[in-house]
């Protein structure tokens, strides 16, 4: 079980990438995990169709915070359509329908699949971003 808490996850948890707020962002989406009360806010600024900046803020367990951090790295520079695809792909990985990419930080979240109650922690920020994209439309 302790392999759930890989160095990669702990690294993102302790030194989250792109943590913080963006004032006047194009996307600002707050999401609460109703199961545990953890919360995340995702911010994104677009330059044309590209994600120019993406940040997250919130409080939660190592899995939710690390996954949010990984998401920001993953979505930076992507177009809206690519971002949507990334999010759908990640959610498919978390239910075992798609393979995790090798040699990528995301692969560290593979272990979470064994703990169904924690999958929502891992997908929280991604769902927030997805809802933000939908809200833009």
């Amino acid at each position: 079980m302790r392999e759930l808490y890989t160095q990669v996850i702990m690294d993102h948890y302790r030194r989250p990438r792109n943590r913080g707020e963006i004032e006047g962002a194009d996307i600002e989406e707050h999401l609460l995990n109703p199961l545990c009360g953890d919360e995340v806010t995702v911010y994104a600024v677009f330059d044309g169709d590209r994600v120019a900046d993406v940040r997250f803020d919130g409080r939660g367990c190592s899995i939710s915070q690390a996954s949010a951090s990984m998401m920001t790295e993953r979505l930076m520079g992507k177009s809206r359509e690519e971002a949507e695809k990334e999010i759908q792909g990640f959610k498919a990985m978390m239910v075992g329908e798609e393979e995790f990419p090798e040699m990528d930080d995301l692969a560290a979240l593979k272990g979470v699949i064994q703990y169904p109650s924690r999958i929502k922690c891992a997908t929280l920020a991604w769902t927030a971003f997805q809802q933000g994209l939908e809200g833009e439309k």
């Binding site: 545990c36 953890d38 409080r59 899995i63």
Partner: protein, 412 residues
């Protein structure tokens, strides 16, 4: 003589192993484990007596009805009710409160009326009143909690006034371990012509309860938290109040006469028991209160008080820990957080050692907001837990923090 080792033999699940570790079950505020006596009552009911109740005239129907009504009598007597007239079986505390909010609230609340609750309510004694308020225009008001987790009774005296129609309060907190002065709240309510509802989900399993002594008009509790099966809960209501209420669910058994366009209602308590009830679960609850009565609730309380104090003392020695709730007069549970490990991660790491605790908002989100936390960890004890199990928790907690600190480069 309260012999916890002897008691543990009655609970088969306590022999369960989680991986290669013996189960240490410390999530009793969520649901309790069941003794063999309750499991046997369920099996015996299904193997020998199962039938639908109150209708058939055949032997099994008579036996099933008798078993169900005997469970009602046992439960009424366990809660100190004068008789069974006001003892309604429900699915649990949530359904019991909904029954009152619907059958009483929708009928008697209106614009300008107030329902006084507390900041520490479980969602089950909050959301039904939000729905009732929305339907009737009544307002909800909340008794604040003080820094130590007890109710601000001075404020309660101001809040409970002529507009108050009902005061609702948890008897014991599932997060803070406080035991609230519901007797005093009932006095305040009655002095203002209001009714008093006590949510006893966290008290009936752990403290001697006497609904008459509490002076309440409604008392709700869940069988599954007090050794009984899930699906068997209770609403006790003062019969003269129940008598005036509208039905909650319509259907079989709750009626006297049915015409195509109208019906008349059955007597209490059947008026509030529509459809085929959870008969086996009620019978199981009857066996559970027999078991609790056999141990003596004063003994159960004493055992848990000692465990709770031991846990509070041991945990408070841990550096950096925050313990929630008052220091004394607690039930047997402790909510806590440590700065370096999120409650979710903590309960996952403890699970690896076979220790089951709860983490999260404990269905009390407004209270968590008041405490300024998103989640806490909670260890909740019951009559079969031991000091050794508390010590196992404390030691595993230390190991979890060390592990987390080592892997993340932050020392606990």
């Amino acid at each position: 003589m309260y012999d916890v080792e002897e008691i543990r033999h009655d609970f088969p699940i306590l022999d369960r192993r989680i991986g290669d570790k013996r189960l240490v079950y410390l999530d009793n505020a969520a649901t309790s484990q069941k003794p063999r006596q309750v499991l046997q009552a369920l099996t015996d009911y299904y193997e020998n007596h199962n039938a639908n109740i109150h209708r058939g005239v055949h032997r099994l129907a008579e036996e099933a009805t008798a078993a169900y009504e005997e469970a009602r009598l046992k439960t009424a007597s366990f809660l100190g009710a004068p008789d069974t007239t006001g003892l309604i079986f429900t699915r649990g505390t949530t359904e019991a409160v909904n029954l009152v909010a619907y059958g009483w609230g929708r009928k008697f609340l209106g614009e300008g009326d107030e329902v006084v609750l507390t900041e520490a309510e479980h969602h089950s004694n909050l959301v039904p009143w939000q729905l009732a308020a929305r339907a009737t225009g009544a307002k909800l008001r909340f008794v604040p909690i003080l820094e130590n987790g007890t109710l601000d009774m001075e404020e309660a005296e101001h809040l409970i006034g002529p507009r108050t129609k009902l005061v609702g309060c948890i008897h014991a907190s599932n997060v803070l371990a406080t035991i609230n002065p519901v007797e005093r709240l009932a006095e305040l309510a009655h002095a203002n012509g209001a009714l008093m509802l006590v949510d006893g989900a966290q008290s009936a399993p752990h403290l001697p309860v006497d609904v008459e002594g509490l002076g309440c008009d409604f008392f709700a509790c869940s069988g599954h938290k007090m050794l009984g099966p899930t699906g068997g809960g209770v609403l006790w209501g003062r019969p003269e109040v129940l008598e005036e209420m509208d039905p909650f669910l319509g259907g079989g058994e709750m009626i006297r006469e049915v015409h195509l366009h109208h019906s008349t209602w059955n007597d209490l308590p059947y008026r509030f028991e529509a459809g085929t009830m959870n008969v086996a679960q009620a019978v199981g609850l009857g066996a559970a209160v027999d078991y609790l009565g056999g141990l003596g609730m004063h003994n159960v309380r004493e055992h848990e008080r000692r465990l709770g104090e031991h846990a509070y003392r041991r945990l408070s020695e841990i550096e950096g820990i925050t313990l929630y709730g008052p220091e004394s007069d607690r039930t047997g549970l402790v909510s806590f957080s440590v700065p370096d490990v999120h409650p979710h991660d903590l309960s996952q790491l403890l699970d690896e050692e076979g220790i089951a605790i709860r983490s999260g908002h404990h269905c009390a989100q407004p209270l968590m907001r008041r405490l300024g936390v998103a989640a806490t960890a909670r260890a909740s004890f019951y009559l079969y837990n031991t000091e050794e199990e508390v010590d196992a928790l404390v030691e595993a907690l230390g190991r979890a923090r060390e592990f987390f600190g080592a892997i993340s480069g932050v020392r606990p």
